[in-house]
């Protein structure tokens, strides 16, 4: 298996095999258990236990590790700034997802056809996934900043005097989020479009459909599962984004940044934990409803 062929969750699904010797599928439960222990022990200790600690902290009185009170949730929900942070996170995630789709669909349509630098453009899509988010934040801040290249170019236009503020605004953050998180949408949209049987498209053309009609009535409907699967990834990545809004958000602090500020800077760990729980639950609820909806519509691939 090559580096590029990293499988997703599906790979965990099935492995039925019948081979002799050491490699036969034995029913020796103890050996299986011993083999499973390191990995799942690691997950239990490094993920489940911290998750439980966050949960416990969120109900503990201020400064304590355990106990039961709803004060942390009350002070979170009573603080207008923190509630705004929650809605800002959702707003940014929704906008970033919409614009990612708007960028990804034409891009995938363009990359579907062979042309000379096609491969280079596919690599370009991977760039944000490989570059450390903090480095991207530095670059985006410089490029879109008041004296960055984008602003200098805008000012070459007539009727524009003075820099246009982009960094530290909501449109700016959306611009950055799209740069960072559209690859999930683009890659799965591209995969969906490339998976369409050319015969279907040809059939539509032979039947006299114009290119536009083929696009609207054949290609896009067939690509919808891919677009949706990709955009859900873009959504959760945007919702949870931390390093980029921390560096480029300015006064706009989404929930992730507020969790960090409240707990690690102001040392209100219990309130930070309550905010973490709300954030985690929101995301899980979103994912569950989303997949329910997909399955009901018959759009789910899994």
């Amino acid at each position: 298996m090559s580096f590029a062929e990293q499988p997703g969750a599906a790979a965990l699904g099935g492995a039925g095999l019948r081979i002799p010797g050491l490699f036969r599928e034995r029913r020796n439960g103890l050996v299986t258990l011993a083999l499973l222990t390191p990995g799942f022990g690691g997950i239990a200790f490094l993920f489940l236990l911290p998750l439980w600690l966050v949960f416990q902290l969120s109900f503990a009185p201020e400064g304590a590790d355990s106990g039961f009170t709803l004060d942390n949730y009350a002070s979170f929900l009573g603080d207008g700034k923190l509630v705004d942070a929650f809605f800002l996170s959702i707003e940014l995630a929704v906008l970033a997802t919409l614009f990612s789709i708007l960028l990804s669909v034409p891009l995938a349509l363009a990359l579907r056809r062979p042309f000379r630098s096609n491969r280079a453009f596919r690599l370009l899509i991977l760039l944000p996934l490989m570059v450390p988010a903090l480095v991207s934040a530095v670059g985006l801040r410089l490029f879109w900043g008041d004296v960055g290249w984008a602003n200098l170019t805008i000012q070459l236009l007539p009727f524009v005097d003075g820099p246009i503020r982009i960094v530290f605004t909501i449109p700016g953050l959306v611009l950055f989020y799209v740069w960072l998180f559209f690859p999930f949408t683009a890659l799965l949209t591209l995969a969906a479009l490339e998976g369409i049987d050319p015969a279907i498209e040809e059939a539509a053309e032979v039947s006299g459909a114009s290119r536009w009609r083929v696009l609207i009535h054949v290609l896009l409907p067939l690509a919808v599962p891919g677009i949706l699967a990709g955009s859900v990834l873009t959504f959760i990545e945007s919702f949870g984004a931390f390093s980029v809004p921390l560096v480029t958000g300015g006064d706009y602090r989404p929930l992730s940044v507020q969790i960090y500020t409240v707990s690690a800077i102001f040392l209100h760990w219990n309130e930070g934990a309550a905010m973490s729980v709300v954030m985690g639950v929101t995301q899980i609820v979103f994912l569950v409803t989303y997949f329910r909806l997909l399955r009901r519509r018959g759009w789910s691939e899994r």
Binding site: E5, G8, F40, L51, L126, M130, P132, L142, W149
Partner: protein
């Protein structure tokens, strides 16, 4: 002569093509310019005015990063932590990946969900718990502790890749070795390991780059002795030295770009999603 007008006419009238090229060019600039400006800013000795390029060029910011930013020490931390994360992730994921890939495992669905769960929650939402736990155990501000915090993110990925690698091994080759009289451990060393090596290597490379780039969990578990490159970049930005941050960013970019070169020969869009994560 007769061909010229035809080509000319096509170039003018093929609006779709022009539109497509413009769109791709704009996309190219949108993606690349923010990274290009980091490179320029890192070698721009003075660049304060609203100009497209620096007034003076020089490597001064790298010298600054080296002396004031203490980059050799920070780079050493980053590399040691990433290497420790690779060793720990593989040590934990190899046996479990083998079991998931090749053995009958009860409650498989539940275990799969467990592997995917850390990726479904925003890292910041459980990072507080990791910090709390590590403070209690005295792991904060140790190289081992920061590396272990990274394993939270890298272990599920290593499990996914390795279980798929082991599940995908060609049974016939293993069978052939057995039939030819090879003992189990010889089969394992000479047949199974070489076959699984690409998967193991890709897991190792991914864990290394993820740890090298990891910011969120480092920020909550680092201390004065365990500053890594991303944290240093953040601290330097906070101090207002953006050009120095650019110089450090250039060092941070190296492994990611190497990996991009490594994978560029085999691009399958849908397969890449599983492992790569930008935050």
């Amino acid at each position: 002569m007769s061909q010229l007008p035809a080509t000319y006419g096509r170039a003018i009238w093929d609006g779709r093509r022009v539109l497509g090229s413009t769109f791709l060019l704009a996309f190219l600039l949108y993606m690349l310019a923010p990274l290009a400006i980091i490179a320029v800013s890192s070698v721009g000795k003075t660049w304060f005015g609203p100009t497209f390029l620096p007034e003076e060029w020089g490597l001064d910011w790298y010298v600054w990063a080296n002396s004031i930013g203490n980059i050799p020490e920070v780079l050493k931390n980053s590399v040691i932590i990433a290497a420790m994360a690779v060793v720990m992730s593989l040590a934990l994921a190899l046996p479990t990946g083998w079991a998931l890939g090749r053995r009958r495992v009860p409650i498989r669905g539940f275990l799969s969900t467990l592997v995917l769960l850390p990726r479904m929650l925003p890292p910041i939402a459980f990072a507080l718990g990791v910090a709390k736990l590590f403070y209690a155990l005295g792991l904060v501000d140790t190289l081992f502790g920061v590396a272990l915090a990274h394993v939270t993110i890298t272990l599920p990925f290593a499990l996914l890749v390795l279980s798929a690698t082991f599940a995908g091994l060609d049974d016939r080759l293993i069978e052939a070795a057995e039939v030819c009289g090879s003992r189990p451990w010889r089969t394992f060393i000479w047949v199974v390991l070489p076959l699984a090596m690409p998967g193991i290597l890709s897991a190792a490379i991914f864990v290394f780059t993820t740890s090298y780039n990891e910011f969120t969990l480092t920020l909550l578990t680092y201390g004065p002795h365990t500053v890594t490159l991303p944290v240093k970049t953040y601290l330097v930005i906070g101090d207002g030295f953006v050009p120095v941050a650019s110089a450090i960013s250039m060092i941070l970019l190296v492994p990611s770009l190497l990996v991009l070169l490594l994978i560029q020969s085999q691009l399958k869009p849908d397969k890449l999603i599983g492992g790569l994560k930008g935050v």
